[in-house]
Amino acid sequence: MNNKISHSKIIQYLTGDPDLNETDKDEILNFLQHDVELRQRIGIAGPKNDIKASKQRLINRISKKEQMEKATVKNRMLLHYVPIWFVKVAAVFVIITSALFLISHLSDIDYDDNQIINRETISTNKGQRARAFLADGTEVHLGVETTLEYGNGLVGENREVYLEGEAFFKVTSNKKRPFIVYAGGTITEVIGTEFSVRSYPDDKEIITVVNEGKVSFGNKFSNSVILSKGNLGRINRADMSEVSVLEDINLEQYLGWKDGHLIFKDAVFGDIQTYFERWYNIKIYFIDEELKQRRLTGSFHNESLRDVLKIIAISLDMEYTIEDKDVYFSLK
């Protein structure tokens, strides 16, 4: 620390005296940066902190967090096995039924694991969408962060796919082989029609929306219901309750995503937060919690993230700032 820097030099520096050369400036800046007490006395610094103790706290915080995350990763892996297990059960079920027809006396069914696991997958990440045609001609639009498994399922007695995320199906009609979507414990069965299924692991509900024709929607435990055009069926993911049905919904609002349209009507911002997060691959933080309760009405058509944020900020009377992939919303 250089104690020889005079206060008049500091005044020269702060007020921008042209007589100071670059070396002087660097010297003064260096002096100011090292003298916390002086900085405090001219009102531009907080109390001096004990950096060593602070560093220790930082390290403790990180290791604690990492331990906790290890624990949750374990949990997540357990959870992850559930759908795979379910797929196996479903596949076994198909084999059992066909086996019962063919060799009805066989009691001990020894299934081939490879055959069951031999599935094909298409998937999208956050911020990605995809369109695909399955072997039977069915057109599929995959929403963001979605995985669709098929393969063996498509050549069996039924056409079967396994969904996690959101997808819109335009199913090629085949009365002899129904098309079945398994999603988070729900079963959606159609013959030839247009519909979507939304089943994200984080969402409370699994939703089916019918755009054309008729769809049977239900779960393993309860009776399924028949949904027709303009109907929305939903099942609570946690308790697999009975299907509740909404009629005459605004189809564009639920299906517009496949054409890049996001439409919200009086939606609680906190509820649709994840939608934006998946769509734009961002993470939203509310600096002021109350903003979660504000309601958004609006439609976005293939708009850039910046435009969308601007529109939201204006219509909900708040401010935002972006930092990498993190978006912060705050009161005005």
């Binding site: 206060h7 008049s8 030099k9 500091i10 005044i11 020269q12 520096y13 702060l14 007020t15 921008g16 005296d17 042209p18 007589d19 660097d26 800046l29 260096n30 100011l32 940066q33 916390v36 007490e37 002086l38 900085r39 405090q40 006395r41 001219i42 009102g43 531009i44 610094a45 907080g46 109390p47 001096k48 902190n49 950096i51 602070s54 560093k55 706290r57 930082l58 390290i59 915080r61 990180i62 967090k65 600096i287 002021d288 401010e319 700032t321 930092e323 912060y328 705050s330 009161l331 005005k332």
Partner: protein, 195 residues
Amino acid sequence: MKNVAINNRDMILLVQIRNGDQNAFTDLYDVYYQSLCDYGFRFVNDPDLMEDVVQDVFVWIWEKRKYWNPKPGVTIRAYLYRAVHNRVIMKARKKRYECPFDEYTEENILHHQPQVDEIENQRIQNAIKESIDLLPEKRREILILSLIQGLTYEEIASILDISVNTVHTQIKRARKLLRNQLKPFWPYQDQAKAV
């Protein structure tokens, strides 16, 4: 330290942190911890809370170290200041934290035993403090980032989301006010040139 040297040092730290080097990570914390706390202190009442905020930023960096990649043109320190800005300043502006400023400085001055030759210095310090207080909030922030924290105009522009030109004008205006306020202490030989 020159800006180029600072950038080089930070870039090396960044690469090491990305590779999981904990020492590089705590080195970076060493370098910026106090400055970042200083930067936020006018807006956050509580030093512990301020420490939490700065640590939040570093925890976040450590978690995402593999992908930590500030945009081209954004220096690492600008990135850090911006992160603190987002978490603290923006929030505080709305909530109008009480300025903790007087509390700390009064205490410091009371516990400080002035020597005879320091009395004049104290007068000057008080005058500087008072004139900095007079600055509008945003202008003061820009002045401090530039003249005390030593950031470049480009860095300040990227932290505050304003143009380099605005930074320039704001600093010019801040200096004008300081010049007027600190007139009695002017050391200039030729008083006219400073105006």
